[in-house]
Symmetry: C2
Subunit: 316 residues, 2 copies
């Protein structure tokens, strides 16, 4: 798959394209957390985005970038949850069909949300190969355009729009940290951040049971076969090819965290920020907590990616 | 106790006084909730206020209204939790002592927060008379100024500041609904709202197991003896004398809701708005859900009062 990375201009275009549909999410601070960490933390609350996750940005940009002719045939994707839901909601804003391939074992709350948003569900085995095969099949029979969850220029550009907002809302950030799964978020945010201020240090937080990005960057080549083992259901994906190159180019440093560390950080976010965030989102705070001394004194933007949690099954 | 109600000017003064310390909390919307209810809902997120509750506004205004001579002797209050925490935090912003009388049975998370904020705790029986007696005793021995949780002019004025913000953030509201416990919030909000737009309809949501405000308004005289029985720990208080008069004067209509209805509304808020809110806060959405047809077509401001929940003991 050959996908080009978006430019800063394309990210600005995306911001204009999604503005009528997306939420300008708030940035929250918390003095006790700042004190605890000896740093200034700025939480970009994408759990408050449409559909409860940042994924709406990329999906919405992809849907509204289609020609009329493409649009009438709908869109299709495979997704562990948030991107599927986002694409369903984005398709609804344009009144077009959305087909979503969902792996067995996905979080119930996320599947319900996707169906409620009006998408047609197609189930498959949880392996990445099975998901891609099923999506290709749907694509062939319907003529729908594939909107890949993270290896897609429009999707990457859409995710990057949150950094444009973050840097407007919180002046003088020197560090930004995002979770890393497929890497679309990290790539888009890095391009946007460095397009505006090349001095911003970019970090990625990755579950240690799904640390293919860390391993890929360490050995200088992308791992393309890996079975993730983590509770972070939003991050059980291999880093995409274009995203891997973006992370190298922008010197994104990966910090790996255990699920236990993410659970503790998730608890802390619920208790202090009063936000319902997913365990995948909590990786960013877990990373800062883990390398406290390193982040001391910094002004850090932390991207809280989503809040689609099954509140009957909390991990503590 | 003879306490005068604040004027709109006093509420504006309070807003200026607390501005350096309080958070301008966001107003959130949710299209699926709007659709479900056939109304436009504007949630004022005081769970994101300092200390996780609107109570910081009133406490902060009271603390910064003290003369230097009063301030050095500190402040004292009795509180089931959020006001105690708020007063402790407010006192810390001025570097003065805070004594907090807490009833046995208060939520653990709230007590921990009060101690962490630097207050001196004084325990007593959960009856209102016992709380007031203990506070009077502390007041006598220390010379501290009593900051009553809801029957205090500065406190009522401070709570009213949230409506000044809400009406700036969300133009054209025709309805505002707040929970009712001691009535300080409802009184302050009513004075602020009607000072700006007398046509705004004011509602209060009250647990059916603590419906003394509803009963008092119905019979035209304040009930002054009542044993509340509700899971809504923030609303287990009798309405204050001045507040009762404010609610009558501003024709605040009370809607009572069962704890079961509040639990369902709390779940819905967690799942859709992605906010950690207390059961007491959820009464406002429970009231709108209960009288859906009545609220259809309105532009409603709903005050989410706090988010101090023991996340290990959820009511569902």
């Amino acid at each position: 798959m050959s996908v080009s990375l978006p430019s800063l201009d394309q990210i600005h275009d995306a911001a204009a394209r999604i503005a009528p549909h997306a939420i300008l999410t708030p940035v929250l601070r918390h003095s006790a957390l700042d004190e605890m960490l000896g740093a200034q933390l700025y939480f970009k609350c994408e759990n408050l985005q449409c559909g409860g996750a940042f994924k709406f940005r990329g999906a919405c940009n992809a849907v509204w970038s289609l020609t009329e002719e493409q649009a009438v045939r709908g869109v299709v994707t495979h997704s562990s949850g948030n991107h599927g839901n986002a694409l369903a909601m984005a398709a609804a804003t344009r009144g077009i069909a959305a087909h979503v391939v969902v792996p067995d074992g996905a979080v119930r709350a996320k599947l319900e949300a996707i169906e409620k948003a009006g998408a047609i569900l197609h189930r498959c085995a949880p392996m990445i190969a099975a998901r891609e095969a099923k999506a290709a099949q749907v694509q062939q029979t319907t003529g729908a355009t594939l909107v890949h969850p993270y290896a897609d220029t429009h999707v990457i550009a859409g995710q990057g729009t949150l950094v444009l907002e973050l840097l407007q809302q919180s002046r003088g950030l020197d560090t930004i940290i995002t979770p890393v799964g497929g890497g679309g978020l990290s790539a888009g945010c890095s391009i946007a951040a460095h397009g505006i201020d090349p001095a911003i240090a970019m970090f990625g937080a990755e579950p240690s049971g799904a640390d293919d990005a860390a391993q890929s960057l360490a050995r200088g080549a992308r791992i393309d076969s890996f079975t993730p083992n983590t509770l972070c259901d939003g991050l059980r994906t291999l880093i995409g090819e274009p995203n891997f190159h973006a992370l190298r180019e922008h010197q994104v440093e990966i910090i790996t965290v255990s699920d236990e560390e993410s659970i503790q950080a998730m608890r802390l976010l619920w208790q202090t920020l009063k936000l319902v965030v997913e365990i995948s989102s909590a990786t960013v705070l877990a990373a800062v907590l883990k390398q406290r001394q390193r982040f001391a004194g910094r002004r850090i933007g932390l991207v809280l990616t989503g809040g689609n949690v099954d509140i009957d099954v909390l991990p503590w």
